[in-house]
Amino acid sequence: MLRSSVFLVLLFVLASCNAFSWAASVDDSEDYGLLMAEARAQMAAGCPDKAVEYFTRALSLRTNDILALDGRVEARLLLLTSGRSVYTAFPSLFITNGSSDTSLFPHTPTRLADIFPTALSAVRDVDLLDTLLSPTNAIRTARLTADAAVATGLAALLTLADSNSNGIPCESADTFLPTAAFTVSQSGPAPNPGIVATAQRYALTARVWLDRLESATLPAMRPGTPLSAFRFNLVRFVGHLSGVTP
């Protein structure tokens, strides 16, 4: 019985292991299709970091390729959330009754230091895609629009949270922090005016992305949904940012 159980467990574990995977590699490949296939396979296998790497290599072969850019945005969002949904990874973004005494990000500064550059890279990708895609392009899906909104919104909030511009948001040296009520708490000298302006610009851009989702009359943007709550929160955040005086 024990032997049979061990055999079955081994079989289930080994079923997806390939005896010939040593025989082929994409490491030296210059084949765009192969790199894209590998990137998608890595994403499906739960390795978005490797997916980003392969999408980037595909982009080095075909500059501004929209499929590779779209895939890289999706992979970067998976990196931001550690493979989970944004509603689980950043629940406070989608709640409208958060307290102004609580920090918006419960994550450690080290984790936020990983998230911040990834969010900024995702924003660069979606901005580039926005310039490449016509308004009716099929790549412009609801998923991409929502990804763009969340990445840009996160960039806005993290830009302000990194008020000393050292790349590590929400550490003790950062004097301005976004709260769970989307207000701005101040514990020291005001940040560089450029930081506030950048955060404001990101927040307004994120709102534009959410407005596009709403104009598509998707149920996901109806009142009471998480994404509509996110837009409400961003509007509040922009209002509070305008009150920040450097």
């Binding site: 079989l11 289930f12 080994l14 079923a15 997806s16 292991c17 390939n18 005896a19 010939f20 995977s21 025989a23 082929a24 590699s25 994409v26 299709g33 192969l34 296939a37 590998e38 998608r40 396979a41 994403m43 499906a44 739960g46 999706e74 969002l77 998976l78 931001l80 959330t81 493979g83 989970r84 949904s85 944004v86 509603y87 689980t88 990874a89 629940p91 989608f94 099929a138 899906t141 609801a142 998923r143 629009t145 929502a146 990804d147 909104a149 969340v150 989702l213 998707l218 149920p219 996901a220 109806r222 009471g224 949904t225 998480p226 994404l227």
Partner: protein, 389 residues
């Protein structure tokens, strides 16, 4: 007679055009009712074809003496996400999530699952009729294969692709005895087949609207129907212990011509491009040892070891993707154990013969969806019930 050089070139080009007519166009899934036996044996079938599948897999085997009438086959294969969708909670969760009452904060666990949900399912039947006589065979089957993939961390979108096939096939084969003393025979067969493929594709549907995709009573999307006629040719050398076969599937190119219909079953005027089932040549060898590890035949019988190499005409990136190895042996004339290696992935199956005519089979097998071995595996669990006389 000497053929002029220009004519020879033309003939070679004509042959190549026939053999490789659409290597650069869209590939279609082949005509097949699916076989859990082949799945369990690492997708080997050319030199070890089961009688009930001879018309579908290697028409040369129609020339053998045995007779087999298969009335029904119910086969369901799915990966883990596919099982969750077909039999688990996920389908219900999608329906609930799609209803207007729960579009508020989504359930965390459900949304986390939906960031990378990849359901694959593959069924045969309930329509399955196959008769194999001595030298001829006919078959009629229905099968379906689909995938339901969800991806995205913010607003997951769904891609649904579903094919429902109805296929019919008829084949003839002749045996040529090469040596009566050694029992060496040459079997030659061919089939002609007709396929109707009904396809439904829904791309990038927001998850909030995906409930209609999993609700069989709310189907309203456009679909297309393709029809094709094709043919396979097979040749097999057979001795009591060895067999070697070569099959040329869809040798003249099986082209599906499509018509699009609205959800109300009205023809749409959309012009659709023909698609093709790529011609494929496969070769296989099988060894049927007289006993298994010296054990008496009442312990282990019908032992076979088979190797197939298929896909010579396809643009495969690796030889190992074409390689299939399989083993089977029947224990106590009741339970058949099957093992294999399908393009590098281990496969396994267990089959029981009940009341002399009902086959129950379970298989675990992994398919390669990527271009290289090990790139993008999908592991399917298959249950199959076949009633044959």
């Amino acid at each position: 007679m000497r053929v002029p050089r220009q004519m020879r070139t033309t003939m070679v080009l004509a042959f190549l055009a026939c053999a490789f007519p659409m290597t650069l166009t869209a590939r279609e899934r082949p005509f097949s009712p699916g076989s859990s036996r082949a799945q369990a044996m690492g997708m080997t079938w050319i030199a070890c074809t089961a009688s009930e599948d001879a018309a579908f897999l290697n028409p040369a085997w129609l020339a053998t003496e045995d007779e087999r009438f298969t009335i029904i086959r119910l086969r369901t294969a799915a990966n883990t996400d596919g099982t969750d969708l077909l039999f688990g909670q996920t389908g219900d969760d999608l329906m609930t999530f799609g209803s207007s009452s729960t579009r508020g904060l989504p359930p965390a666990g459900f949304m986390d699952t939906m960031t990378g949900f990849d359901a694959v399912y593959d069924t045969s039947g309930p329509l399955f009729l196959s008769y194999k006589g001595e030298g001829f065979g006919i078959g009629l089957y229905s099968s379906s294969r689909g995938s339901f993939a969800v991806h995205g961390t913010t607003l997951p979108t769904v891609n649904l692709e579903h094919d429902f096939d109805i296929g019919t096939i008829a084949g003839l084969a002749i045996p040529i005895t090469l040596n009566e003393d050694t029992g060496l025979q040459l079997l030659i067969g061919g089939t002609i087949k007709y396929l109707i493929r009904i396809r439904h594709i829904s791309s990038d549907v927001p998850l909030t609207e995906a409930s209609r995709l999993v609700d069989p009573f709310a189907f309203s999307g456009d679909f297309r129907i393709g029809q094709a006629i094709g043919s396979d040719l097979g040749i097999t050398w057979r001795s009591p212990y060895f067999s070697v076969g070569i099959v040329w599937y869809d040798w003249f190119g099986t082209t599906l011509s499509w018509t699009e219909y609205s959800g109300e079953f009205k023809t749409k005027g959309t012009s659709l491009v023909d698609t093709h089932i790529t011609p494929m040549i496969g070769a296989g060898v099988a060894w049927t040892p007289p006993d298994f590890l010296g054990l008496p035949s009442w312990v282990f019988s019908n032992t076979q070891i088979a190797i197939d190499v298929r896909g010579f005409l396809e643009e495969e990136d690796s030889f190992f993707k074409m390689l299939h190895v399989g083993f089977e042996s029947t224990f106590l004339h009741f339970a058949t154990i099957r093992l294999g290696l399908n393009a590098g992935y281990p496969t396994c199956g267990l089959a029981f013969l009940l009341f002399g005519s009902l086959h129950m089979e379970y298989t675990i097998a992994t398919e390669e969806r990527g271009r290289l071995p090990g790139q993008d595996p999908v592991t399917l669990h298959t249950l199959s019930f076949t009633f044959m006389l």
